[in-house]
């Protein structure tokens, strides 16, 4: 699978840690933010905005709403904006069946936990939208924790770049494995991700068996 993010359009729901990090990361790969929201409301920015400028505006005024060149829109309009990547990074239960029907994105990267209702999954799958499910999309935290633990155990510490590249390879491998399983079983990415994980645990369990 090839993804070129140069010129890709991105919508961020929520403007906390998860979504701003994701936004900045996608920006570095050449993507453009065209919609964003926070607790005060949602905005559309047809010409795009830099994450750093949005943060600046929020710090000054308390919200991203009112950002120069933006228009206030509803949450539903934000989620159903035509874009390449939708990042639900705010709350749980945001994408229901109704919103799913009207989605116009190619990829959903679930930065928040549980943003998609189970009723929406089959609809999203039918529309051929690629979902990077929450338990994979926000696994960066446990990967860095793992690498911290490894460094603690050996009493030797890596540089920033060493840690970052190890973390990235863990997550990329997880994505590739889940994607391959989704294709093989013709199932959505959420079920593929879980099946991959459960299969790995079962494999370990079978090796050990039950004792005592």
């Amino acid at each position: 699978m090839k993804l070129n993010l140069k010129g890709a359009t991105v919508v961020l729901q929520g403007f906390g840690n998860a979504s701003t990090f994701t936004g900045e990361y996608l920006e570095k790969l050449g993507a453009k933010i065209i919609g964003v929201s926070d607790s005060k409301g949602s905005i559309s920015i047809p010409n795009g905005a830099k994450v750093s400028k949005l943060i600046e505006h929020k710090q000054k005024t308390g919200s991203v709403v009112g950002f120069p060149g933006s228009k206030k829109i509803s949450t539903e309009d934000l989620l159903t904006t035509k874009c390449d990547v939708l990042v639900p990074g705010a709350l749980e239960n945001q994408i229901n069946a109704n919103i799913a029907k009207n989605l116009k994105c190619k990829i959903i990267a679930e930065a928040a936990n549980g943003p998609t209702l189970p009723e929406a999954d089959p609809i999203i799958f039918k529309k051929n939208i690629l979902v990077i499910p929450d338990i994979l999309a926000n696994s960066g935290g446990v990967c860095i924790s793992y690498l911290e633990w490894v460094q603690n155990n050996m009493g030797y510490y890596w540089t920033f770049d060493e840690v970052a590249s190890k973390m990235e390879s863990n997550i990329t491998r997880g994505f590739k494995d889940a994607y391959a399983l989704a294709k093989k079983h013709k199932i959505d990415m959420r079920r593929a991700t879980m099946a991959l994980a459960v299969g790995r645990v079962v494999e370990a369990f079978n090796q050990k068996g039950i004792w005592p």
């Binding site: 994979l136 446990v142 793992y146 863990n170 879980m194 991959l196 459960v198």
Partner: protein, 198 residues
């Protein structure tokens, strides 16, 4: 409105995955869904004004077939109360098992927390430290670098991680044990690049 049971939701996801994998054994399905151990502790804290307050803490150890339990400790007061929080940490510990397995790191799933909201309740820095160390004492026997390695979660930070590591190290015969917990500040054995990971 009754809160949906988060643990029932986690269990459903395990069953769905078993369907995909063709796992029919009901016992194996239950083995995969139910945590290995759920510990519930009472944490008494002497408050600044002299009275004693009892807190409730949890540690759910879901699965360690692939490596030691791993998962956060949250300080939170969900709407459903203490009983709901227990179900919540059980569900979250299950998700940690799957999360670690997906990215193929040799760790299992755990989660824990204390029913307290340090953001909305008036609780001093000293009270919070006594609470954190009290909790670390109560879970001391079930955590460790090769057993269960907690981390920060909702409303906990590197500060609490340091206090837990320090409490654990001292109880552990003064064996320096940075590997008992992650999310520590750099000076305490934390890792670079944490600030870019979510």
């Amino acid at each position: 409105m009754a809160n949906p049971d988060p643990f029932a939701n986690a269990t459903k996801q395990v069953n769905d995955a078993c369907d995909v994998l063709g796992i029919k054994d009901k016992g194996l399905r239950e083995y995969l869904a139910i945590p290995n151990k759920v510990l519930r502790v009472k944490i008494p804290v002497k408050m600044d004004d002299g009275h004693i307050r009892i807190f409730t803490g949890f540690r759910s150890q879901h699965n360690n077939d692939r490596g030691p339990y791993k998962g956060g400790i949250r300080y939170f007061n969900p709407e459903g109360g203490v009983e709901y929080m227990e179900r919540e940490v059980m569900a979250l510990s299950s998700w940690m098992t799957w999360k670690c397995a997906i990215v193929d790191i040799p760790l299992g799933g755990g989660k824990g927390g204390i029913f307290v909201n340090p953001k909305t309740e008036k609780i001093s820095e000293g009270e919070l430290e006594r609470l954190t160390r009290g909790f670390a004492y109560k879970i001391f026997e079930i955590i460790g670098p090769g057993k269960d390695i907690p981390a920060p979660d909702v409303y906990t930070t590197g500060k609490e991680m340091t206090q837990i590591m320090d409490t654990f190290s001292k109880l552990n015969g003064n064996v320096y044990s940075p590997g008992v917990i992650t999310g520590k500040p750099i000076s305490m054995g934390g890792s670079l690049a944490r600030d870019v990971a979510t």
